[in-house]
């Protein structure tokens, strides 16, 4: 059963990818997407019962499979090299050649192709959570992509549809991602890690504009850098421990303060993938890709691969100075990305910075490396994936409707797109308000970070900055002219299903946090003296503090319904226009000025560019982050 499920989760998307690429009918594609999505979601859900499992499928032990992976590895690097040569990018050429040489040396001289086979598959609850996120959010996003891409291509006026390539890449990515979080062999992990890099590169460059080409190359070189550090880390670990088995590596290193250099390299690989400062540039550039790409790869899943790597190896470097430095780097990213987000009025860029920032928070939690903080990290991982996927999808709909990404252009969006505006506002609220899941995670993070001065300082500042850029966005989305009337919105079914599923799961999963914690997170911690949190009547607590999840949810629901009831439109209440110190014009946002001329006024949010502008902060942030990375390597020696 377990083996079948694993096979389905990894190979079904692969088959779907091939089918999408070669069968070009639109109807067929829709059917394919729906069927694959259902299969993926079902098998991911069925997998819940099986964890934790470690096993080696028969396939993995065969010599042919090994040779296949080896040659595929080289093929992949060759492909990256090819793109490097094609676009004349020296860094990419250099990095891919470096990887080819190291890999060749490793495979043909160090191990001569005979390293003992590690346990092939290891699926604990962390892997399970990742699989669930990838499969469910992934399927929903691909579903959403159906109407989106149709519109997108209509807008671009393409002669020949490039959708087959797009959907094939999305499915390939989902398969690779599922495989990556399940395998227990470092080399296989590296292989899938590189596949995701390649998928990201191809998807960012999908629209073939000058800008997208440039940005995709940035993404490729930064991620190749991550690949290279990952590979070097693996080789260094192998020279010491002579194994590629992830679990055995962790158990051998745990609590020994050894092998810090390769672990630091793994962390840096994780940082590049998760677009931590100073590697953030590629993720910002990646926003040129069609929105489903941003939702799937660049917010809810692929960037989480870096975080996954760190969480996986967290026990290996617990209690070391490396761990502290990881926490500081993460917290610094959290703070600086939040600050940079304040200066942005481009909605997608705000989302990108917020992704970077939240990943930083997760990494800070990993670095603090207590059971409580790891719990926080996983909870943040889950809820960030759900809420952010939702926000990106809404952003995509809005962008297609109003033709702009600028937050200022979304004033009064409720008047035009009531459903989307409502959904995105609720999505934003799930990011910043208790009792929703993100806030439970943040609460755990801050409580467990209070033991580290530098980290708590940055978390305190960062969390306040986060509130600002979200709240002002939510405020202007729901605003409309004073009548508050809105035209009904037409939305394709395939856009509606993902949006509402994601929204309801963001809310519902928040409610279920205590259950998620006790059934999905707690079992992963081995050798516990005391559980990081206890649960009683839906109150998560330990002797540091308590978060009353169920009571707060109960109060929130009651308050919300009651407030909704009290604020229902009443006839008695007189609608008034905003105060304008004079006479209002007939149109909202205007007043009667001198000579009876109707004058429209402009209003804008505060972006505080004097403090938080990109040009003010970027250099400073990059330099500081670079120094932090150097220190991180330094303390590992």
């Amino acid at each position: 059963m377990f083996e079948n499920l694993i096979t389905t989760l990894t190979f079904c998307p692969l088959v779907a990818a091939l089918a999408c690429y070669f069968l070009r009918g639109e109807r067929l594609r829709s059917a394919l997407v729906i069927v694959t999505g259902i299969v993926l979601i079902l098998s991911a859900v069925l997998l819940i019962g099986s964890a934790p499992v470690s096993m080696t499928p028969a396939l993995f032990t065969s010599v042919k499979f090994k040779t296949f992976i080896q040659s595929a590895d080289f093929l992949l690097l060759g492909l990256i090299l090819y793109f490097g040569i094609k676009f004349k990018n020296r860094i990419i050429i250099g990095l891919s050649l470096l990887q080819v040489i190291i890999l060749g040396y490793f495979e043909f001289f160090m191990t001569a192709g005979t390293h003992e086979a590690p346990v092939g598959i290891f699926c604990d609850h962390l892997s399970l959570i990742m699989v669930l996120i990838i499969s469910i959010a992934g399927s929903l996003i691909v579903l959403y992509a159906l109407p989106y891409m149709k519109n997108h291509e209509k807008h671009l006026k393409l002669k020949k549809s490039r959708q087959p390539r797009f959907f094939a890449l999305l499915f390939l990515f989902i398969g690779a991602m599922n495989a990556m979080v399940l395998v227990n062999d470092m080399m296989l992990f590296y292989f899938f890690f590189e596949i995701t890099t390649l998928c990201s590169f191809l998807l960012i460059g999908h629209d073939k504009t000058e800008e997208s080409k440039r940005n995709s190359l940035t993404a490729l070189w930064i991620n190749s850098l991550g690949g290279a550090t990952l590979l070097i880390g693996i080789v260094l670990i192998y020279t010491q421990l002579h194994t590629l088995d992830i679990q055995s590596i962790i158990s051998q290193v745990q609590g020994k303060d050894i092998l810090l250099i390769p672990l630091a390299l793994l962390c840096i690989a994780g940082f590049t993938k998760a677009a931590q400062m100073p590697f953030q540039k590629w993720l910002l550039g990646a926003m040129v890709a069609p929105t489903p790409t941003s939702a799937l790869l660049h917010s809810s899943t692929m960037v989480k691969a870096g975080v996954y790597l760190l969480i996986r190896f967290a026990p290996a470097f617990a209690g070391t100075s490396l761990s502290t430095l990881v926490a500081v780097c993460g917290a610094f990213t959290f703070l600086s990305a939040a600050a940079l987000a304040i200066g942005q009025s481009n909605g997608k860029k705000v989302l990108a910075y917020s992704t970077i920032s939240n990943l930083g928070l997760i990494i800070a939690c990993v670095g603090i490396n207590t059971h409580a903080s790891l719990t926080a990290a996983i909870i943040l991982l889950i809820f960030h994936a759900v809420s952010k996927a939702l926000l990106f999808l809404c952003m995509g709909s809005i962008e297609q409707h109003i033709g702009s990404r600028d937050i200022e252009d979304m004033r009064g969006l409720f008047g035009e797109m009531p459903i989307t505006a409502l959904v995105i506002t609720l999505g934003i609220l799930t990011m910043i308000l208790p009792p929703f899941g993100m806030l439970i995670g943040k609460w755990m993070a801050i409580e467990s970070a209070s033991g580290n001065l530098l980290v708590i300082l940055m978390l305190a500042l960062g969390s306040a900055l986060t509130v600002v850029y979200w709240a002002r966005w939510a405020g202007i989305l729901m605003g409309s002219d004073f009548s508050g009337k809105s035209t009904p919105e037409k939305m394709p079914l395939f856009s509606k299903i993902p949006l509402f599923t994601l929204l309801s799961s963001a809310i519902l999963l928040g409610f279920l946090t205590p259950i998620i914690y006790s059934s999905m997170i707690l079992p992963d911690f081995s050798g516990l003296v005391a559980a990081p949190f206890s649960i009683h009547n839906g109150i998560i607590f330990n002797n540091q503090g308590s978060f009353a999840v169920y009571p707060l949810f109960f109060i929130a629901i009651v308050v919300f319904l009651f407030a909704l009831f009290l604020s229902r439109p009443k006839k008695a209440a007189q609608q008034v226009s905003p105060y304008m110190s004079g006479i209002q014009g007939k149109q909202p946002g205007s007043f009667v000025g001198p000579m009876n001329k109707v004058t429209t006024y402009t209003q804008s949010n505060y972006y505080l560019s004097a403090f938080f502008g990109e040009e003010k902060l970027s250099n400073l942030v990059n330099m500081t982050a670079g120094i932090l990375i150097l220190i991180l390597i330094g303390v590992s020696f």
Binding site: R411, G479, G589, Y606
Partner: protein, 285 residues
């Protein structure tokens, strides 16, 4: 169960206590300006009068925001009296603050928009300070729960003096006292009318005033945590702090939000860092 009872009692009594505090505040302010000032119960009259006005709304979602604001303020006060987690109380309070801003941003009026944005900057300024103060309390007591503070045998103030000053900054901003009455103030200011409050009127404004009363009580409650060992000490601390607030309010002009962000963050962070380092070092008086 007793805690739940405390919470209920706290929620019921808080607005009355708030009326007295705010009324006293207005009388003292008047005295400082050599005026006589309004009756003690003036805040109550104001709220009741506003409640009796004919409803007028500027945006259909505004009442929703106001009700949530009030509810969040009430819940946070209730949680305070139930001796819950300090960080959580702060987060719940933040829900209200955010909805208050969202309600102002809903209306396309330049005054409430500017006020809403300024209010956000105010939130931005005080939020990290309060989190740092709470982190300091945690470092000293080993817990974020209020009952751990009540279990102490020495006042918190002794080991957290600088954090208390930081808290004072946060308090002044939260109560919108000069020089930090940037998003709105008790009296209208030319360039902003009534800022974030401009578009709330009648019943909505009454509810907001109620929520302000709750917030005042919450903040004074948090302030009282710094001296829990004796009731007289607590009273003394509260009286002196609030008196200082009123004096500062009277002798300061309002400043710009840029100045606020810069000066408060620098002083606040430096002071709390010094105090936190002291706490980390493990030294205790």
């Amino acid at each position: 169960m007793t805690l739940f009872l405390y919470a209920i009692i706290g929620v019921i009594l808080a607005p009355f206590a708030g009326v007295l505090v705010v009324g006293l505040d207005r009388i003292l302010t008047a005295k400082f300006q050599s005026r006589i000032g309004p009756p003690l119960l003036q805040p109550l009259y104001d709220i009741c009068k506003l409640w009796g006005k004919k409803p007028m709304i500027a945006h259909r979602f505004q009442p929703l925001c106001v009700y949530i604001y009030l509810a969040a303020a009430m819940v946070s006060v209730g949680m305070f009296f139930a001796q819950s987690d300090l960080l959580l109380i702060f987060f719940v309070q933040a829900v209200g603050a955010i909805f208050f801003v969202i309600g102002a941003l809903l209306v396309p009026s330049p005054f409430s928009q500017a006020g809403g944005n300024r209010e956000l900057i105010q939130i931005l300024t005080y939020e990290p300070l309060i989190i740092l103060v709470l982190a300091g309390i945690y470092l000293y007591t080993g817990s974020f729960k209020i009952d751990a503070i009540y279990a102490l045998d020495k006042p918190l103030l002794i080991n957290l003096p600088l954090l208390f000053i930081v808290f004072g900054y946060a308090l002044t901003i939260k109560l919108k006292k000069s020089p930090f009455d940037i998003s709105a103030s008790h009296h209208a200011h030319q360039e902003l009318v009534r800022g974030v409050l401009t578009e709330y009127s009648g019943k909505m404004l009454a509810l907001i005033e109620m929520a302000h009363l709750y917030e005042t009580i919450l903040i004074l409650g948090l302030c009282s945590l710094f001296w829990t060992t004796s009731i007289w000490g607590m009273a003394l601390l509260l009286v002196i702090t609030y008196l200082l607030e009123i004096i500062i309010d009277n002798i300061c002009a309002r400043m710009s939000f840029r100045w606020m962000l810069k000066s408060v963050w620098t002083t606040g962070i430096v002071l709390s860092a010094i105090n936190l380092i002291w706490l980390y070092s493990g030294a205790r008086i």
